[in-house]
């Protein structure tokens, strides 16, 4: 039995090499893409959490302020330390300082406690420094930082013991490098000093920035957290350190999911190709299978054989996919780092470490796709009436399935139901922060398109058939009308691939247009200066105050963070100098803008923040600010495509009134009209930026850079679209060829009746054109629907980005025309194959 199955599979592979290879390739691509994304992300996450572990240790819990301006009071650290359930509290002050042009992380440590939790950060005394220790005035630099410092200054000055000056805003600490950090990771730019020294120079007063807690072995984390929850002073969070992992994976989650959906598309097309291949294979071999059935091949074996053949495509395809995916992952991480250009993780290339279980998972996915593709053909094969198939060949539909009017009504009803379900799904909220319902709706739209295709075909061809047509045309029209299955297979490939392409083009174009408009709105000033997460140097701010600074207007912005949910990345807090009466002048609002009632502090939140935390314009919100919770009024929601995890804007006036210091990190600059030409301002910005090692650019550059990044990040999408179209066209060619082949006898009969070769070719080409046209029309409709779902449901739910739908007709219609032309070429090829057979031989073979 096994031997027979093997003979048949081998025969199948030998006679249909191209189709089999392509199906295998598509499956391999889907598996490879998904697996590569998994591997890369896994490695990047592991690398990132390894880095975090090195700097943070592995505490059980962490106490931290909710906003970046807050602190953990010393009293709380002391209270926690005396808790009998606590084995160790490690207080840490972490800040960023500027050393020359470098922005460096400075960690203030208490060696007594930190030595136990974060041994990687323990400093080593410089050999030349005797009688010194970490409690003395001095800093310890990571090897990477030492190397950087060494390369930036004349040789020798930055060896251990050399002087170094760290600044943050107007705070300065001039000291010396007392030693290094031998266990620091090779690319960490890191300074360590005694916690009290860091506090004395950079704050926070009477507090630390974080307490990392290790519990006594017999303390239950959950109980302990619960007991402390109520005792915690306001403005602080106490969270299980495991939440860090959740935060981390939340960061790249939506991004990953979208890439994985692309992988799923590839896998689906792979499955579709298996479907097309196996369906035509079944059709072509229906007589053979019938014979085997007559000879005694059990019905379930006729089913199993086709499934087995599908699997024979899927197994090697998936195996190739795993290897390909691994190779892709290695190549990509070497070239681009662990975030595929997404900008979430930075640093060195992470190490790709495949594990058995995920590999098995992706392997099974590939096999499952091929099995799913073979399922319907297998069932059809199982249901073939043996005696009839042996005599007349493939039956396109199972027996006794002629449509009665009632059945037709049922079909229309089913189509309407599916459409309704798809519509309902687009209204459903995100599940686990993922647009799963949106994806389901997309799947339903595609199903709908495929299911609707025969109905459309019947209608169109019934209408065509009523007209007076030339003989060739009549034959073509009749064939399409009477061979609904093959036509449907051919069309559905085009429907799916064209729908996906149209939807992607639509989404990308909508996004790009929205991005351009947004960039115009958020970049009102001609010049911008920005330091990398650090307060701008006091010297620069002073220079701006001088009368020779060529600017008419300067707006400062300070960026901090606030944590509203310990499991999510914090939202950005943007303190901006803007007119509270007219925030629209600076923020691209979406929807209404309310004026705060008297006495309320207005804030304006970004769309991602609105959606992540389910907020509404006009409501009040307790915002962690300045180490406490401040009640603020949500005055409006503005569009933001840059901070995926949310941002909230507060006017600098209000922030100061609350007792906050605005330590500007960003500047928007408007040149003075009388300052001569624009070049003066530009020169000023460039010189100051170079002097302080910060960014200083014109708005045009930011705009160009942003769009460039956008285009690059969607390059993969374009490649996939091209692949999808090729697969769709290939599907059309394969099915057309098969359907022509199936009707070889009929064509031969026509030929014998006086049709010449040209007429036959024309008939077959027309048939292909008709099928392609219907596939493209339905695909276009589905594509626009899917594009709308992607734009209005998936994007807002996955990335919390909203935008208007833009259908790029100038790309879609020529694309459709091109595909139609390619479809006609494919059917011409099929026609030539068919008409090349001498009619007499075909008739004589009488298959």
């Amino acid at each position: 039995m096994k031997r027979l199955a093997w003979w048949l599979i081998r025969a199948q592979f030998q006679t249909r090499r191209t189709a089999t290879a392509l199906s295998m390739l598509a499956i391999a691509l889907g598996v490879a893409l998904g697996y590569a994304i998994h591997l890369i992300n896994d490695a990047a996450l592991a690398d990132f959490s390894q880095a975090m572990k090195s700097v943070q240790g592995e505490p059980d819990a962490v106490v931290a302020p909710q906003d970046s301006a807050g602190r953990v009071p010393l009293a709380l650290i002391n209270e926690l330390a005396q808790d009998e359930g606590v084995a160790l509290v490690v207080p840490v002050i972490e800040t960023r300082v500027r050393i020359g042009e470098l922005a460096v992380r400075l960690v203030g440590l208490d060696v007594f406690s930190a030595g136990l939790l974060m041994p990687d950060l323990l400093p080593r005394q410089g050999a030349a420094i005797s009688g010194d220790n970490i409690f003395e005035d001095g800093m310890y630099a990571s090897p990477a930082l030492l190397a950087r410092l060494g390369s930036k200054v004349p040789e020798g000055t930055h060896r251990a013991g050399a002087g170094v000056t760290a600044t943050r805003g107007d705070a300065t600490w001039s000291t010396r490098i007392a030693g290094d950090l031998p266990a620091a990771r090779p690319d960490d730019l890191l300074l360590v000093a005694d916690i009290a020294r860091v506090q004395a120079h950079f704050g926070p007063p009477d507090g630390v920035s974080e307490g990392r807690i290790r519990l006594a072995p017999d303390t239950k984390l959950a109980n302990w957290l619960a007991a402390w929850k109520d005792r915690l002073p306001p403005g602080l969070t106490l969270r299980a350190a495991a939440d860090n992992q959740a935060r981390l994976s939340n960061i790249s989650r939506a991004y990953r999911v979208n890439l994985n959906v692309l992988a799923m598309v590839a896998l689906l097309t792979g499955g579709f190709l298996v479907f097309a291949t196996q369906l035509t294979a079944v059709a072509q071999r229906s007589t053979q299978f019938a014979l085997l059935g007559v000879l005694g091949l059990a019905p379930r074996m006729r089913l199993a054989q086709v499934l087995l053949e599908g699997l024979a495509i899927g197994v090697p395809g998936a195996a190739i996919g795993l290897a390909l995916g691994w190779a892709m992952a290695v190549a990509f991480t070497r070239l681009m780092g662990g975030d595929l250009g997404g900008g979430f993780f930075s640093g060195s290339a992470p190490v790709i470490a495949p594990e058995a279980l995920p590999a098995l998972g992706f392997f099974s996915l590939g096999c499952a796709a091929s099995l799913a593709g073979a399922l319907y053909p297998a069932w059809l094969n199982r249901m073939q009436p043996l005696a009839q198939a042996l005599k007349t060949g493939f039956a396109q539909r199972p027996p006794h399935q002629d449509d009665s009017p009632r059945q037709r009504g049922g079909k229309v009803l089913a189509v309407a139901l599916v459409a309704g379900a798809a519509l309902a799904l687009t209204q459903a909220p995100a599940v686990f922060d993922l647009p799963l319902a949106g994806y389901a709706a997309i799947a339903l739209v595609l199903v709908l398109g495929i299911a609707a295709a025969p109905l459309v075909t019947q209608r169109v061809f019934a209408a065509l058939a009523r007209r007076e047509l030339a003989a060739a045309e009549r034959v073509a029209v009749q064939n399409v009308g009477q061979a609904p299955l093959m036509a449907q297979v051919a069309a559905s490939g085009l429907i799916v691939s064209f729908a996906l392409t149209v939807s992607m083009v639509t989404m990308v174009s909508s996004f790009r247009v929205a991005l351009e408009q947004w960039l115009d709105a958020v970049l009102p000033a001609p010049y911008y200066m920005r330091s990398k997460g650090l307060p701008l140097p006091a010297e620069l701010l002073a220079a701006l105050e001088r009368p020779d600074a060529p600017f008419a207007r300067v707006e400062r912005m300070a960026v901090g963070t606030a944590s509203l949910d310990p499991q999510r990345p914090p939202v950005a807090v943007l303190v901006r100098e803007l007119d509270r009466a007219d925030p629209s002048a600076r923020l691209p609002f979406a929807g209404e803008v309310f004026t705060a009632p008297a006495g309320n502090i207005p804030v304006w939140i970004s769309e991602p923040m609105q959606q992540l935390y389910r907020l509404q314009t006009g409501q009040t919100l307790r915002l962690p600010l300045l180490g406490r919770e401040v009640e603020v009024f949500v005055g409006g929601v503005w569009r933001d495509y840059s901070r995926q995890f949310g941002a909230v804007v507060i006017a600098a006036v209000d922030y100061r009134a609350l007792g906050g210091r605005v330590e500007a990190t960003d500047l928007a600059l408007w040149p003075r009209r009388d300052a001569g030409d624009d070049a003066t301002a530009q020169r000023w910005v460039r010189e100051q930026a170079a002097r302080h090692g910060i960014d200083g650019v014109g708005s045009g550059e930011i705009r160009a850079l942003s769009l460039d990044i956008f285009d690059k990040s969607f390059a993969v999408t374009y490649a996939l679209e091209a692949a999808a179209m090729l697969i769709g066209l290939f599907g059309l060619a394969v099915t057309l060829a098969a359907s022509v082949w199936l009707r070889a006898r009929e064509l031969a009969t026509l030929s014998a009746l006086g049709f010449d070769r040209a007429m036959l070719t024309r008939a077959v080409m027309l048939e292909g054109a008709l099928i392609a046209a219907i596939g493209l029309a339905v695909g276009l409709a589905c594509g626009i629907a899917v594009g709308a779902i992607l734009t209005h449901v998936v994007n807002p739910q996955a990335f919390h980005w909203r935008m208007d739908l833009q259908i790029p007709w100038l790309q879609v219609l020529p694309g459709a025309a091109l595909t139609l032309a390619a479809g006609i070429m494919a059917s011409r090829f099929a026609a030539r194959q068919a008409t090349r057979l001498p009619a007499a031989q075909v008739l004589a073979s009488a298959q």
Binding site: M1, R3, L4, W7, L8, A11, Q12, Q14, T15, T287, Q288, L291, L292, G293, V294, L295, G296, L297, A298, P299, R300, L386, A387, L390, H400, A846, Q847
Partner: protein
């Protein structure tokens, strides 16, 4: 080897039954010719006997165990065909993607004959149908007569009790037809099998042990 009693069959959309109350018996080793006009239901009867179509009423007992194929489910019918029945078709139906030897091996595989018996059985049978050395060849290189010889070998290789042949010489020229018929009858007799041969040819019919004629009114 074959015993049909009270068999009735009507096509789904047809008012008239194909046959009703039909009875027939073929003894062990007996070769019976079935003749009749086109469309009278000879092929339907053959399909019913093979379990490819289901009779509406009656019984068809096949093989030494006299299993009633009408009452068997689809899988059991397939199993019965695999072990108990050999087929010869007008259109040969040799699988083009398998070699001659592989084609002949199919019934052995389907009926579960031990693998070590395959090669000797196939070789000797191919020799006896005049195709010694044809084993590795592909069907595409064979003539119609040769293809039908392959089909005869395939019908007999698993030693079925009953051979069903539907116009076995219908696609052959008269001279080849004679050869093939002689071969078929000789081999069937040699194997001790029973056979029911549907044919339009008087020559074929007269070479059989008994001739039955199917008419719209029944068997005669």
């Amino acid at each position: 080897m074959l015993s049909i009693a009270n068999l009735s069959k009507r096509h789904p959309h047809s008012a008239r039954p194909v046959f009703s109350g039909l009875g027939l018996a073929v003894a062990a080793g007996e070769i019976v010719a079935l003749v009749g006009e086109s469309g009278v239901g000879k092929s339907t009867l053959l399909n019913c006997i093979a379990g490819l179509e289901t009779a509406d009423a009656g019984a068809i007992l096949v093989g030494p165990q006299a299993k009633d194929i009408v009452r068997l489910d689809e899988a059991a019918r397939a199993a019965l065909r695999a072990t108990g029945i050999g087929f010869v078709f007008q259109a040969f139906h040799v699988l083009p993607t398998l070699t001659v030897a592989q084609n002949v091996a199919v019934p052995l595989l389907l009926s579960g004959v031990a693998a070590r018996e395959h090669a000797p059985r196939i070789e000797s049978l191919l020799a006896r149908v005049g195709l010694a050395g044809f084993g590795p060849r592909w069907p595409g290189t064979l003539s119609g007569g040769e293809l039908q010889r392959v089909a005869i070998a395939r019908a007999l290789v698993h030693r079925p009790a009953l051979i069903l042949a539907d116009e076995p010489t219908g696609n052959l020229d008269p001279r080849t037809a004679d050869e093939i018929l002689t071969l078929l009858l000789e081999r069937v007799r040699e194997e001790g099998a029973s056979a029911l041969i549907v044919t339009h040819s008087q020559h074929v019919a007269q070479s059989c042990d008994r001739i039955l004629t199917l008419t719209p009114d029944g068997l005669q």
